[in-house]
Symmetry: C2
Subunit: 222 residues, 2 copies
């Protein structure tokens, strides 16, 4: 009973996974907008209507892929962090771990950090997974020197304070601002690399990225 029920559920879970895997594979060819349920079904040897047993709509499949991608890159960042040792080394490890995942999964990366898909409205489910990389960086900075906050304009200071309260961490506004800049730099560099903007300047971008990671470590006080 329990055993057999588990068997059916397992079959269901496996096919759900296979559908997502095939959809991910097709993202590479056609992008998020071009992702087609019929094509996915065709490739899996099913009839297109059968997919509706697993996903109520194309948008729901897309949402799942997006959440999966955020979790995957977040996990890559977390796993890259040794969790102990010099904060600066942990910082660098997270930067490289994040970039490595992105380079290994460029189309999933584009799905979450590229242009928003028109007509697609991101549901609330994506918010938490989307912040995992940032939180991994925050974790390393805990107990870092709090900078003087003199030069931070009031609006930004207010936003920084709201943020530190929400995260339950102690950090001055300038530290928060610099962390957000570093976070922006990390994904800006990955995007420029993956989307071809460094062609003609620092392509391949490995050395430049490694250098940026170090400079931004110093920038946030590590």
């Amino acid at each position: 009973m329990t055993a057999t029920r588990t068997a059916r559920e397992r079959a269901r879970a496996e096919l759900t996974q296979e559908i997502k895997d095939e959809a991910r594979r097709q993202l590479a060819d056609v992008g998020a907008h071009g992702l087609s349920l019929r094509a996915v079904a065709r490739e899996l040897g099913m009839v297109s209507s059968a997919l509706y047993r697993y996903f109520p709509s194309r948008d729901r499949l897309l949402t799942d892929l997006i959440v999966d991608a955020y979790n995957a890159i977040g996990e890559a960042a977390e796993n890259a962090d040794p969790g102990e040792g010099e904060p600066r080394d942990r910082w660098l490890a997270i930067w490289h771990g994040t970039r490595d995942w992105a380079r290994a999964h460029p189309h999933e990366y584009a799905l979450i950090y590229g242009s928003p898909i028109p007509g697609y409205e991101a549901p609330q489910d994506t918010v938490a997974p989307a912040s995992r990389v940032a939180l991994a960086l925050v974790k390393v900075l805990t107990n870092t020197t709090v900078r003087a906050a003199d030069e931070v304009p009031p609006e930004l200071r207010a936003q920084a304070e709201t943020l530190t309260k929400a995260l339950g961490i102690i950090a001055g506004p300038e530290t928060v601002a610099r962390l957000l800049m570093a976070w922006t730099q990390l994904f800006g560099a990955i995007s420029f690399d993956l989307f071809g903007q460094y062609v003609g300047s620092v392509d391949p971008a490995d050395a430049f990225f490694a250098h940026s990671a170090k400079r931004m470590a110093e920038f946030v006080g590590l």
Copy 2:
């Protein structure tokens, strides 16, 4: 003769422009991948095949829109630069001018700085227009203190030297690296703002962006 020929040519130029304008308008609704010649023609009260008098294919229309967008944001950056006065003020003006254009034209921005369009191969025509914003920033930095180059790894140093030679400017590798980081930061911040990644932290991002512009000015030595 010359007058009448010019009249026909003017009509042609005007309609070409109207087609591009309508296409731009539709980018907002459907994105680059969803852009449809038929829909554009329909909106202009033409039959779809008539567009082929103006653009040999959908891809060619897209390419023109991309080139136009690069030129528009480049021009915005150049026009924001007062061209004289304190380099730091010029730098800040260019940053804000670039962001202002992007916020005014979010879908054109996404067209050029979002995820690459699958199946679309950017032709050579886009390379020069794509570098205008970066060049505007470079111009401000000319005659800035050259930093010690000790810590720049050899691959990056080589790339930096190739770049300075190609541009005909004098700048040490660390300066070049920092400039590329600032360039990355500028577009990283604009993209994160426009694509919704700052929701939950620094949204609206105006104060944060202004602060980043200043910090990056210092970072490159201004």
